[in-house]
Symmetry: C2
Subunit: 96 residues, 2 copies
């Protein structure tokens, strides 16, 4: 899995309006009705992470979930990050 | 629930060796064997948060969980934070 160029990342991000690229990672913030809904989404995302064997840096405060994705071994953003971002979008769309 | 003095916090922290006080909150970092174990602990902690109606700022990267506790309404650390810290310690001790 090789690191994508900034140009490739920006092009891919057109399909991911919730996500932004900076500091060598893609980032999104999601807001839910409350902590339960937020943590439920996190649980579903956690299963995706395990099945993709790819894990985010993510921070939660009550109903807010901030996620950063990058591929440590590649030193930047790869297709694996977009694969996980896509899975996250599917989960969040239902629950947000 | 009123904000504790720095002196009171430092005194209480003697019983919480994993925790440190800075920037108006108490903080701890826990390391697990892997993401599954880490997220399992997070799930158990999430239930405690709901039952105490008190929620952390917490960040996870793979097997590392960083937790910050403060009481927003009181503008600092209160007994509620120590109550949640104690519940977290009980959960983490089993799973770490």
């Amino acid at each position: 899995m090789s690191k994508l160029s900034e140009q490739d990342i920006e092009k891919k991000l057109l399909r991911f309006p919730d996500w932004e690229y900076y500091e060598n990672a893609i980032h999104a913030e999601f807001e839910f009705d409350n902590f339960r809904d937020c943590f439920s989404a996190m649980s579903r995302i956690a299963f995706e992470c395990e099945s993709l064997n790819h894990h985010p840096e993510w921070t939660n405060v009550y109903n807010i979930l901030s996620i950063s994705l990058s591929t440590h071994d590649a030193g930047g953003v790869t297709n694996k990050d977009f694969q996980l971002a896509e899975a996250i979008e599917m989960i969040v769309e239902v629950q947000e």
